[in-house]
């Protein structure tokens, strides 16, 4: 039973590390930190695999680890404050004025997670609720609130 779970966890990281990278990046806003988060999460997930009771929930369980690890990384590095790092982004994104990550940064971390998991990773609300350890109605209201903020941001850009 545990062997199945371990195999599943390995599978998830091997096939989905890019998804986890993007999710981590949305929090930590740097490629190096995002990579650290993904590696750290892979290690933690496999090391603590006995915390996962059912292989069915492996995907949501891993997402949760990635998010928590990203949040820990933020706590330690305290890089939530938009500042100097943004200039780097500007140079890289020369020909694209509009950056999805910039947009997402306007949201609270949990609002960001809901948008990413719902619209970019196509997860069900019930899965998202499980990942964020909240009830579905909370997740739903977060989603609408985030959409509202994003839409406002998008509109501002389009009109510019």
């Amino acid at each position: 039973m545990l062997k199945q779970i371990n195999t599943r966890i390995e599978e998830l990281f091997t096939n989905n590390y890019q998804k986890y990278y993007r999710l981590a990046y949305s929090y930590v806003q740097s490629p190096e930190d995002a990579m650290d988060v993904v590696q750290e999460s892979a290690y933690k997930a496999l090391k603590n695999s006995k915390g996962l009771k059912n292989a069915q929930y492996a995907e949501t369980w891993v997402y949760r680890i990635v998010i928590n690890t990203a949040l820990d990384s933020l706590k330690i590095r305290k890089r939530e404050v938009p500042g100097v790092e943004d200039y780097q982004q500007e140079y890289i994104q020369e020909y694209t004025n509009f950056d999805v990550m910039d947009s997402l940064k306007k949201l609270e971390p949990n609002e960001r997670a809901v948008i990413i998991l719902r619209f970019f990773e196509d997860l069900k609300l019930s899965d998202i609720a499980r990942i964020l350890e909240e009830n579905e109605s909370t997740v739903k209201s977060r989603l609408y609130r985030a959409l509202k903020i994003l839409k406002v941001e998008l509109d501002e850009f389009r009109e510019a």
Partner: protein
């Protein structure tokens, strides 16, 4: 939802550098390697009442090594001892109460072989310890005074990372009587001297390893509290007696897979209950000079 699709495409354009694939693989390999050194042996036999001498089925939950991959009555002890480790299980279950208490015992791996006096003594020591747990449990059940006793006791035995000199066995007991308490007992057996050893035995006479290690731990406590708002240790309590002052000569410890010294405190000992059991890794530099010449910590 056109805009969302556009956003999604942009989002997916963020790709990790190529090196991440390899790094993830390495991280997972490291986790697997660390697990391999630790065999968690849990007694899962149910429905056998009060048969203290029965050997229950042991299900190995974590296994990557073919040697340990069996659900049998005994497992090989890696490293220091060439004997086998077996378990006498005590399982009792009734209305509202349940206990799974395992007594690990060293037995010879071949017929006709005998255990050393030191190994026999270790078996007796372990047996006394678990017997006490069993007695306490039975007393709690009997003394429920006509009410349904809500008592639960579970033990998990862990063979700690293999070492050429030291055989270490950890017994974790979780008690549920209303609240829940976890405590650990870690036994160390020095094959070179055929004796059970405690932390003090690693250090030369007259050295003040207690102060050195305790100071280091206090530093770590202060640091953890500063970095993590949820961490809390009894360092500066109003009731000065509750503060952690120093470790004991027989302080619980173990060596991790990198041979670092890890000090273990029981729940409620140096921190509030929600912190659980706390552990601190003490750097070698803190105590290196105080080890006696042939110390098992080297």
């Amino acid at each position: 939802m056109n805009r969302i699709e556009d956003l999604k495409k942009e989002y997916e354009a963020y790709q990790a550098p190529a090196s991440l694939k390899r790094k993830v693989k390495n991280a997972m390999a490291r986790a697997k390697k660390e697990r391999r050194n630790k065999a968690i042996i849990r007694i899962t036999g149910r429905g056998i009442l009060g048969v203290a001498a029965a050997i229950l089925t042991i299900v190995i939950l974590v296994n990557s090594s073919p040697q340990i991959a069996r659900a049998m009555g005994s497992v090989p002890i890696l490293g220091a001892l060439s004997e086998l480790l077996t378990f006498r299980g005590y399982t009792e279950r009734g209305d509202g109460h349940e206990a799974n208490i395992a007594t690990p015992q060293i037995i010879p791996s071949k017929d006709g072989q005998t255990l050393t006096p030191g190994e026999e003594q270790l078996n007796r020591t372990i047996e006394e310890y678990t017997q006490q747990i069993i007695d306490d449990y039975e007393a709690a059940v009997l003394n429920a005074g006509g009410q349904v006793p809500h008592v639960g006791v579970d033990t998990v035995c862990t063979v700690l990372p293999e070492d050429e000199r030291l055989f270490s066995l950890r017994l974790d007991t979780v008690e549920n009587t209303g609240g829940s308490a976890t405590y650990s007992k870690i036994y160390h057996f020095d094959k070179a001297t055929d004796q059970e050893v405690i932390l003090a035995d690693a250090f030369a006479a007259g050295t003040d390893y207690i102060t050195a290690i305790s100071e280091n731990i206090r530093e770590q406590m202060a640091k953890r509290m500063a970095e993590d708002p949820e961490a809390y240790y009894f360092l500066e309590e109003e009731d000065g007696d509750a503060n952690f002052r120093q470790i004991k000569p027989n302080q619980e410890f173990y060596l991790d897979t990198d041979r670092n010294l890890v000090i273990v405190f029981d729940e409620y000992d140096v921190a509030p209950g929600y912190m659980g059991e706390v552990e601190f890794t003490v750097p070698l530099t803190v105590y290196q000079d105080m080890l006696y010449e042939n110390s098992f910590l080297k």
